[in-house]
């Protein structure tokens, strides 16, 4: 499973006063990372919404691939899991699990992958295995699924997660999915290309500097530097030319609310 489904309500009081919510902004910010000829390994929830928003706006040729082996899915309703029958019906092809991982992911045929996780550290390493010690866990999480392979083999990994203090420690308890490991050189020494491209939270959009370390690239309109720093387990850098994240357009909001997630399964929607 490629995304964390135990997100807390990311809506803030400030967001309620605006015409959109932070969860809608997260979806739109993720959609804007995608390009029309990308093949994307999608996850459930916000990644799925983001891909559909991109496909129906600036990236009509986007090809959606799921861990379950469905290639070129075109779901009519939000899928309930990555193995949803609506991802199989109407797909271009369905590969057995082995072929999807072997020929598509391992062989480098996918451009983008979405991941979530319980912890993300300063080098973009992700933990979705255990909180605490592996053999005596405080919390036993679901584990990798395909996340480790996605993090190893796609060109650009996108991480979507709410920004809470426990989610952003300086070092994760367990590396399930490698980011830049201990810096860009650390990743290169392992023979891995690609790497995390962006982290999108309810507070901002973050990227990785030349050393492979996370920094804040843009703040969402409702967020502050102090809020991000107070919820981060190390002294996080901010871009010299820190921007404000662009707000959703009316068309993007209409797509989310009327077509893609009318029942608010994966977004909180403003009135």
């Amino acid at each position: 499973m490629t995304t964390d489904e135990t997100e807390t309500d990311t809506e803030t009081e400030t967001a309620r006063e605006r015409a959109y919510t932070n969860s809608e902004l997260m979806v739109v910010a993720a959609a804007r990372e995608l390009e029309s000829d990308d093949s994307v390994l999608v996850g459930i929830g916000k990644p799925n919404l983001a891909c559909n928003v991109a496909k129906r706006t600036h990236a009509p040729e986007l090809r959606m691939v799921y861990e379950s082996g469905t290639i070129g899915s075109n779901p009519k309703t939000p899928p309930l899991s990555i193995g949803d029958p609506g991802l199989a019906a109407g797909a271009l092809s369905i590969e057995p699990m082995r072929n999807g991982f072997n020929y598509y992911l391992q062989a480098g045929r996918l451009d983008v992958g979405f991941l979530g996780g319980a912890q993300i550290d300063r080098y973009g390493n992700i933990n979705s295995t255990v909180i605490g010690d592996y053999d005596d866990p405080i919390v036993r999480l679901p584990g990798s699924g395909g996340a480790c392979e996605i993090a190893c083999h796609v060109d650009r990994t996108m991480i979507i997660t709410p920004h809470t203090e426990r989610r952003f420690p300086e070092e994760v308890d367990f590396i399930t999915s490698p980011g830049y490991v201990d810096g860009r050189e650390g990743r290169e020494e392992l023979g891995l290309d690609g790497g995390p491209e962006a982290v999108i939270t309810d507070l901002g959009v973050y990227r990785f500097n030349d050393d492979g370390e996370l920094y804040v690239d843009s703040l969402h309109p409702s967020a502050t530097r102090d809020e991000i720093q107070s919820k981060t387990g190390w002294e996080i850098e901010f871009a010299d030319d820190l921007q404000q994240t662009a707000e959703p357009t009316d068309e993007e909001l209409r797509l989310i609310r009327e077509e893609l997630d009318p029942e608010e399964l994966y977004t909180d929607q403003a009135e």
Binding site: L80, R98, A151
Partner: protein
């Protein structure tokens, strides 16, 4: 010769205490009916192997059937975690369970080694991850041809696999459509295979569309015709996932008493899948039925 039998008899014949067991299916066609029959027959000390343990393994764990879980993602798909799995992993209740953990690709590669009669399978996986430190069946190997490296996984060869498909003939040639997951690999890797299907068809139907055959009879030991045998998961074209059941499992399995009451009502309290389906009721079953959408027929040609 017909291999058609009841689920009761198939499980009684094929599954012993202490066996390693793979109930296959990636979200689709999960063998819930077989899992419930294994619980009813009181099997213990099982090694439960499955990429995505899902609710059926949570139920087997809660019923005290498991000693070990071999897996790559243990969760409730699209919902959250598996409460009984977590209780066993974190508190050792109702049984201590040993964990053997992979990534999806690692798990599938291990099954493929088992299915192919190879001593290991190489893959580019686990790179940069802490997982290999915690699993002796994952090893880094250098390329014999250059200075590249990969990881290798040891074969997974379950004693028994239970796989589902939409339809099969009496020998066990099966048509499966929709998401295939690891069904074929699990059947090939296992010693004994129980095939459970929504409906029985003729050999002629199978031969009319051989590209749709995922399992062939030589792999199959027992054929069980079990309509709705995957509820609350789904069978493409037959019924959808009963999402209410997945959502409510978080509460049902939240503590020992409620999960035991659920097992009493829905597993021990019915004799077989037919009684289970009757108990669910017609309305709930019909609510899961999709509209019909046939694939365009293909012309295989008549060659004389």
């Amino acid at each position: 010769m017909s291999k058609v039998t009841s689920m009761h008899d198939a499980v009684a014949t094929a599954v012993d205490d202490g066996d390693s067991l793979y109930l296959a299916g990636f979200t689709h066609l999960i063998p819930f009916a077989a899992g419930h029959e294994i619980i009813r027959q009181g099997r213990t000390d099982l090694e439960l192997i499955r990429a995505t343990p899902d609710l059926i393994y949570d139920q087997l764990i809660a019923a005290g059937c498991a000693r070990k879980v071999t897996f790559s993602w243990a969760g409730n798909p699209g919902v959250g975690s598996l409460p009984a799995f977590r209780r066993a992993a974190e508190e050792g209740y109702p049984t201590e369970i040993e964990l053997e953990e992979y990534t999806h690709f690692g798990m599938i590669a291990a099954l493929e080694a088992g299915a192919s009669n190879l001593p290991f399978m190489p893959l580019r996986g686990f790179i940069g991850s802490d997982l290999p430190e915690h699993n002796d069946n994952i090893a880094r190997v250098e390329s014999p041809f250059d200075d590249d490296y990969v990881y290798a996984v040891a074969p997974i060869e379950p004693d028994v696999a239970v796989v589902r498909a939409q339809r099969a003939d009496e020998d066990g040639n099966a048509h499966l459509w929709g998401i295939q997951g690891e069904v074929k690999l699990a059947a090939l890797a296992a010693d004994t295979v129980i095939l459970s299907v929504e409906e029985q068809c003729s050999e002629e139907t199978i031969r009319s569309d051989p590209n749709r055959t995922v399992i062939t009879a030589d792999e199959v030991d027992h054929v069980v015709v079990e309509p709705y045998g995957s509820h609350p998961s789904y069978a493409q074209g037959y019924y959808g996932r009963d999402n209410e059941a997945y959502l409510s499992w978080a509460e049902t399995a939240a503590d020992r008493d409620t999960v035991e009451a659920w097992l009493d009502e829905w597993v021990y309290g019915v004799d077989d899948r037919r009684e289970y389906v009757e108990k669910l009721g017609t309305e709930r079953i019909l609510d899961l039925e999709p509209e019909t959408a046939y694939a365009t027929p293909v012309n295989m040609g008549e060659y004389r």
